[in-house]
Amino acid sequence: MKEKALQIDVSALVNFNRQAIALALNLLEDRRPRLQAQALTLLDELSTLPAPAHVVGITGPPGVGKSSLIARLIARQAQISRRVAVVAVDPSSKVSGGALLGDRGRMQISLQAEVYARSFAARDRLGGLSREAFSAVFLLRHCCDVVLVETVGVGQSETDIASLADTTVLVVQPFSGDVLQFLKAGVMEIPDILAVNKADDQALAQQAVSDVQTALALERGSFDQGSLEGSWQNPVLAVSAATNLNIDTLDDAMTAHYQHLQSTHKLENKRADQAMAWAVGEILHEVGQRGLAILGGVEGVRSLWGEQTQQWSAIRKLATLLDRVRYRA
């Protein structure tokens, strides 16, 4: 990258200047030490500014129509004059390290709409979120009204997305027994919103929705989700990306969840907890259990985290902890 790419104008960034956003995201991905230092400075600067965007994670097994659903959600945001950023994550090939990033085409992004979309390869995270994707979302929270994050698969990616999104939407197809099994068995966290896509047939959709509700009720019976999440009742919605059915209902539910987090003053704590949880995951990924032990385990990380400078971004805090392990400081 030439020097020109390094001039990042923060006011342009937070005003959704897409050229500036693209350059900033290029910088966040850059591994060259000098540029990494610059990226950390940028993130620190941003972390002193408001982060108004609602981060919505959209996840679910392959083929349930997440991209088409996002296409509809983007159109809906454009309608109500919201600025949207989309982060899409695709798996990387284990053989070559390369990746095909094809979600953008399925999202049919209109040139008129205020949308910024970026694809990320999962790289060594097997369908989960790479560090780059996490930093990107951290940055985008400051630049727009809504950040939609799409990940593929059931398993690792939910855990990742839960450590990142204010609101998690799980997309399933009617009668997707395997996903329901995961929910019932508690393998998967209960999403904030569950969308049953491809609900083109009314009767079938109703049946599918009650199917999911039953599964959720079973899970709640064994584990009182209600008391943990306050008054939030995880809604189950029948939607159809193909026919644009209930997309506004889904969008309203997303907004309602965000307002719920804000009105119950949970948002800030949730984001802080997420940043910590994410840091622990990254530490495990980078330096393993032994590295984590050097930092005094999860509890140690928690107290070290709190001792760090308030103006630092989560990304710098993590970088500092990792340095401590590497250099045994």
């Binding site: 020109k4 290029n26 540029l35 095909l100 990033l101 040139l111 970026r118 694809s119």
Partner: protein, 657 residues
């Protein structure tokens, strides 16, 4: 033994304007051609008028623009339609072009019952290979079904559908896949017609009898003979077992053919003549599996648009085969051949197994993603084998030494240049036509079209009314777009498995390239990320898909969004995605218009440092033009070595960093 009747001889043609194409048709007919095969330009094929923003640079390029009934009148001026056999390569808006043809005939005083010909009207292969689809699968099948039910009752000598295995082979299909997926398409169509309940039993049987196929024939002509015999046997089975057709006449496997273009080479293009001759043998030698109609490509197709003389040479091949040789004088010369029978059985059994697999997935529409992935995988294997030298292509990867050719010296003199004025002419005529028509008639006709669509009536009568009233191609299609919506077909590349065990030299080279790509990440600061874009209306995505898959296999991160992107969309993606390089693929001849627009757009976004490479059918002086404008490299079909292209891309990205 009486001599067999010769097949209908055609040449796929049309360019510039209706008038220029009409002159070409009459010239071709005077040389002994016995039918017409109309090539429409891409705006017409995708339902846009010549003055639509997306039509810019594409008008008259790969075929003739037809915007309204007056264009159709001009196209067939002095060609009596009651005596002509016309094949129209039209799919998304097939119902509309047939309506215009019927209206033009009526204006000549010819009733629909006298018309003979074919509308291609196969949407599935558009999703899978050719790319000029418009609407989603369900309404598309309904339109096909409408054309069938209408023609069976009103245009009885018309072939309403030409189910195409042709484009599947062009997309890389093996003979087994070609047979299987075409049969799946025919089944999807006939099931729709049957379930529409519009036809009496006898009419439905007639509709089965009117189904025809459009096949491909490659240079492995013995296998092709067996493929066509297997195809015929399977069709006989399907029509009898699935549709209960008793009369063998209505179970006959009727097909037309265009021989293989995929295998025609840019290097030593004169070698394409023997290839074309051998491919023609594959569809004529066996009487039981002989084609009904044939069109042959021109020897210089990989260089650019053929000239009238090039097309004449291809017609002469057909005439020599039919009238000089004794091919039409015998019964089936393969009868009793154990070798041919054995191979035929193999293809039939494997083909049927694949039909059953797709049927289990709910039919070809539900299995679209699966089928596309199979085709991309086959094509990837083919390209890999050519690269490894296991698949010999004379003059390309073997016997490449050559004396200078007197036919072609490497400049673009051996091709036809479309007059750039043609687009302006066409648009002026369209504007004049719009002012001259009676607006009230147009509105009334569009209203009845809308009603017919919404009330699930047959679309043909209202479309013919529209044609007579002066409705344009863009207006007809937009009316349907508003109701049906549009569609994006699967790209099939995500499912194309990585090359796990590439052996030999190519494998070593690929491994070396992967190492290089990893090292490049250190120079660039992050993994090499490229955008592969297909601008314009051209839907031939094989090249772009192959490049995308190979880039992934070399370790790059590849953004690929599919076909039909505007220059603005490509620039936006390049900016948002932060790519290091943009690769463009264009085969429609509109590169001189589209590429500079993208270069300008990139500059406006401050992306001057993002290099652009272009691949396509690009004559050398155009290539020079593009390089002058700032394109880093131009690749044409002779650049078949994927790893060379990929390693260039790495060099170029590093230089720009």
């Amino acid at each position: 033994m009486t001599k067999d009747r010769p097949w209908v001889m055609r040449t796929y043609s049309g360019h510039s304007t209706a008038q220029a194409s009409n002159e070409l048709y009459r010239l071709n007919l005077s040389k002994g051609q016995t039918g017409l095969s109309v090539a429409f330009d891409l705006p017409t094929q995708t339902g846009y008028d010549s003055d639509h923003a997306l039509a810019r640079g594409e008008v008259g390029k790969v075929g003739v623009p037809i915007c309204h009934v007056a264009d159709m009148d001009t196209l067939f001026a002095d060609i009596p339609l009651d005596q002509m056999n016309t094949s129209m390569t039209i799919n998304g808006p097939a119902a509309w072009l047939l309506a215009l043809y019927i209206a033009a005939a009526e204006r000549q005083g010819v009733g629909p019952e006298a018309l003979q010909g074919t509308t291609q009207n196969d949407i599935v292969k558009e999703y899978l290979s050719r790319g000029t689809y418009i609407f989603p699968p369900e309404p598309s099948l309904r339109l096909i079904s409408d054309v069938i039910t209408y023609t069976v009752k009103n245009v009885p000598k018309w072939n309403p559908v030409n189910v195409c295995s042709y484009h599947l082979q062009e997309a890389g299909a093996t003979p087994v896949q070609e047979v299987a997926y075409a049969l799946c398409t025919a089944i999807a169509i006939l099931d729709t017609v049957r379930d529409s309940g519009r036809l009496e039993a006898a009419e439905f049987t007639a509709a089965v009898g009117r189904m025809s196929f459009f096949v491909n024939s490659g240079v492995r002509f013995i296998e092709e003979i067996c493929k066509l015999r297997a195809f015929g046997q399977l069709w006989d089975n399907v029509t009898r077992e699935r549709y209960g057709v008793e009369n063998p006449k209505f179970r006959r496997f009727r097909y037309g053919v265009q021989v293989n273009s995929l295998g025609l080479t840019e290097a030593q293009p004169e070698n394409n003549i023997p290839r074309i001759v051998l491919e023609a043998l594959g569809v004529t030698l066996s009487k039981d599996a002989r084609c009904r109609a044939m069109q042959l490509p021109a020897w210089n197709e990989a260089l650019g648009l053929p000239r009238p003389w090039d097309q004449q040479w291809s017609l002469r091949i057909q005439q020599i085969l039919a009238f000089e040789t004794d091919v039409l004088e015998y019964g089936d010369i393969f009868e009793g051949s154990k070798v041919v029978e054995g191979k035929t059985n193999d293809i039939r059994q494997a083909g049927w197994a694949e039909v059953e697999r797709v049927t289990e997935m709910g039919g070809v529409i539900s299995a679209l993603g699966y089928v596309k992935e199979q085709l991309v995988a086959s094509h990837t294997a083919r390209v890999r084998n050519i690269n490894a030298g296991d698949h010999v292509v004379v003059g390309v990867n073997k016997f490449t030494e050559t004396a200078e050719s007197p036919l072609y010296t490497g400049n673009s003199s051996a091709i036809l240049k479309v007059d750039e004025e043609a687009e302006r002419d066409q648009v002026a005529r369209l504007e004049a036509f719009r002012t001259e028509r009676t607006q009230a008639d147009v509105e009334a006709a569009l209203l009845s079209l809308r009603d017919a669509v919404k009330n699930a009536e047959n679309i043909m009568p209202a479309s013919i009314q529209c044609a007579h009233a002066g409705v344009t191609t863009g207006e007809w299609t937009q009316t349907l777009r508003d109701i049906f919506g549009e569609f994006r077909a699967p790209t099939g590349i995500a499912g194309a498995a990585a090359v796990p065990n590439v052996s030999g030299k190519v494998g070593d080279e690929l491994e070396a390239l992967r190492m290089r790509v990893r090292k490049t990440a250190d120079i660039l600061g992050r993994p090499l990320k490229v955008l592969i874009g297909k601008p314009g209306l051209d839907g031939h995505s094989n090249g772009a898909e192959q490049i995308a898959v190979w880039c992934r296999d070399a370790g790059m991160e590849v953004v690929y969004e599919g076909i039909r992107l505007s220059p603005e969309q490509i620039v936006t993606s390049a900016r948002d995605e932060g790519v290091h390089l943009v690769g463009l693929s264009i085969l429609s001849g509109s590169h001189l218009r589209l590429v500079p627009e993208i270069l300008t757009g990139l500059r406006q976004e401050g992306l001057d440092n993002v290099p652009v490479v272009v691949g396509g059918i690009i004559p050398e002086d155009d290539a020079e033009n593009l390089r002058q404008a700032g394109v880093a490299r131009v690749y044409t079909p002779k650049d078949f070595k994927m790893l060379r292209i990929l390693s260039d891309m790495v060099d170029i990205a590093e230089e720009a960093a």
